[in-house]
Symmetry: C3
Subunit: 340 residues, 3 copies
Amino acid sequence: MEFTINQIAQLLNGRVEGDGSQKIYKLDKIQEGSPGGISFLSNPKYEPYLYTTGCSAIIVSEDFEPQKEVQAILIRVKDAYSGFTRLLEIYGDSKTTQLVGVEEPSYIDSTSSMGENAYRGAFSYIGKNCKIGNNVQIHPQVYIGDQVTIGDNCVFHPGVKIMKQSQIGNNCEFFAGAVVGSDGFGFAPQSDGTYKNIPQLGNVIIEDDVSIGANTTIDCATMGSTIIRRGVKIDNLVQIAHNAKIGEDTVIAAQSGISGSSEIGRNCVLAGKSGIVGHVKLADRTTVGANTGVSKSIDKPGHTVLGFIGFEIKDFLKSYAVFKKLPLLQSKLKDLEKKQ
Amino acid sequence: MEFTINQIAQLLNGRVEGDGSQKIYKLDKIQEGSPGGISFLSNPKYEPYLYTTGCSAIIVSEDFEPQKEVQAILIRVKDAYSGFTRLLEIYGDSKTTQLVGVEEPSYIDSTSSMGENAYRGAFSYIGKNCKIGNNVQIHPQVYIGDQVTIGDNCVFHPGVKIMKQSQIGNNCEFFAGAVVGSDGFGFAPQSDGTYKNIPQLGNVIIEDDVSIGANTTIDCATMGSTIIRRGVKIDNLVQIAHNAKIGEDTVIAAQSGISGSSEIGRNCVLAGKSGIVGHVKLADRTTVGANTGVSKSIDKPGHTVLGFIGFEIKDFLKSYAVFKKLPLLQSKLKDLEKKQ
Amino acid sequence: MEFTINQIAQLLNGRVEGDGSQKIYKLDKIQEGSPGGISFLSNPKYEPYLYTTGCSAIIVSEDFEPQKEVQAILIRVKDAYSGFTRLLEIYGDSKTTQLVGVEEPSYIDSTSSMGENAYRGAFSYIGKNCKIGNNVQIHPQVYIGDQVTIGDNCVFHPGVKIMKQSQIGNNCEFFAGAVVGSDGFGFAPQSDGTYKNIPQLGNVIIEDDVSIGANTTIDCATMGSTIIRRGVKIDNLVQIAHNAKIGEDTVIAAQSGISGSSEIGRNCVLAGKSGIVGHVKLADRTTVGANTGVSKSIDKPGHTVLGFIGFEIKDFLKSYAVFKKLPLLQSKLKDLEKKQ
């Protein structure tokens, strides 16, 4: 990347404050910048760095008013965060080369085929009767089981495993080591205390624009389908159990777990390490806090829950504040009892 | 699968209520069924669906009494859940084909060999001096280290890694990406604040009928063996540390962790995200609730614990109920103090 | 291994109490030992086993005074634990053979090369323009992306994935299935409720003497670098998000998670399943308890926090002790109210 500040402002529909002829050749963090770098200011927490940054240029929002003198050239745009994201994309596009072709040895059953502009890395494996769209990248050491269907523009990073009969839409990305369609955890207790396998005969359906993190696991349904709807973004080391359903544009952070048959609504946010028990439903736009366990359905949309067994975040934080003072409360109570 | 309802009833030792000549060709969920489908009713929570289901037939228990008119044909069996599980098995058997043969390229050291009816997938690797029984399936991209012994009828799904000297019984199943026998986390603190590796010289022993979930990790012992007893079922993304011992027929749900040298009894149930500290023992039939941390041994069998630091579930739930009202308690206490 | 007790004492600068001519040929646990075995006593909790052990020899500390008669020969050293660790090392060295050579098929781009004494296992993959030092072991099914640099004496166990542009120091070990440099979880919310990928253009830097556990995931930075400093030891199934920085000689136990842009100091200890929110800093020598969530920066070094939202461990334990008695407190309060 090498642009002038003026050129970048033009790309972003922005306005330059200062000398726009300087050259920019890298993206920086505002607190670590050096000459030739560009960064952005969106979170007010980072404002102090604006006055000390070594970056040549900073993208800020139209209405931002600096409190001190700023050394860097400012580019004013409608929304600084989106503007910078756009710049990241342009930069990313300029660095990414579309992989095409076949590296050997790789394995594809004769009954399966890939569309145009395909990449199959070395040691990748594609089973029987798979239908795979155009512009799909199968990186090295990926496994695609039998009867898998895959749309266009999907990327499977190294070591991803897609088990048989999975159905995957367009524009999906699977990060290294993710496992999709492994058997659900289903065992029927027997009268002698042992367990018997319950065959897991369903599959996983993943719609368009879904992202699945590294070493995340998504189990197939016992019957029917585990379903990940359009636009869902799942982080690393997440567990999605059999027959779960995740609504459109829901975001699930790392190490969260969704138990069997639970249904998460649209536009929900599950923070890191959250856990949802089986057979419950979460309304649209529910937010589940970090570490939080959800033990029953949440019917009203738009709520945020927090806690070991989660409840309304405001109430939890009030209770937790008192929890911290419990020894004091206890001694006050004792004092009162003595005075009786 | 294509049977008449009468044929299915015969397979399950059941009794038909209605026209048993209708044909069934798929398994359905009771709430999602359509004609030609069969499902079951066991959990009373699902009873309302019995009256609205589109399934042609429903398996119910002998003594079940419907509260309204039922459209579907009923098959009455001793236990509806077991009956349906049996049906799943029959269906599963009819769909599964035993894989046999070798896909190339694959790697097996000349000092190792597999028994009869073996399957070795492409890009699988088998090290030196391994002894592997009959009817074993080594799927693509599986790694088996040196001096591993494996019994009969085991299945290793794609990308499973079994490290050297592991000993595995009969009828075990390892799901994609599971790692068995990786080094335990052992580092000796040095006086200068650094850590020195403690060599991990032990192994992992897995007895018969064990199931290990996708991307789960089981560490080898520092010395001696990490032991997973007969019939243990472990879900996805579980961590079992060095020298842990898991008793027969114990079930461990996803994202749980067992720290070093801890011993879990027989027929225990560890719910999702539970965590057990090191060097403790859990009595037989202990149940550990979701998200629960266990910080000391549990001596009496058959107890259920819950909580951030787990204790008897009944007591925890009572305390948590009061926790939710702590701000109110606090203000009541203040009122009392004022009145003094 | 076959040494006399006298020889072992000599290796450890120790002093024998009893007949030092007996032969030792294996390492044992003190509670499980048998003749020919040697073990150690360091944790007083294990002292009862000293009087019943079947081991031929036990390493104890110089100043240890047995309370009963001991059958085993004692080797007295400065520190029993370190002494035994040293013995483990000697034993380990005698068992480990340095792997050298290339197994086929394996893949290395013509623009990349490895140093002396290299091992490349079957089905391993090395991308473009990689620089790899001496004595590096790339086990089977490992993936090394483009432009990765690796120092000397590193070991990559089976199935490890190192994504492009990662920089790795000397003497690092990566256990099976670990993923380094996968994309950070970055999505910009759009006004219509959908999310747009934020390109992840940074990398991961791992300094010398680092250990990364099985199936652990470390994301690349959005820009700049995710940094793991010298001597850091990370257990299995840990998540390190984009732009995190982990200080020297910090230890992170299994299933912990560090969110984006957080900075952990030097010589910290994060117990199992701990979680750190994004954009906070932990001072040097901070200890975070098991299951504990850290929601804000910890400024003073050397503190230990515990709790759902962690605070000073002593205070948490006091509060938790009262929490267990909350129903009692509540009824006492009610009694007092009645008496008013």
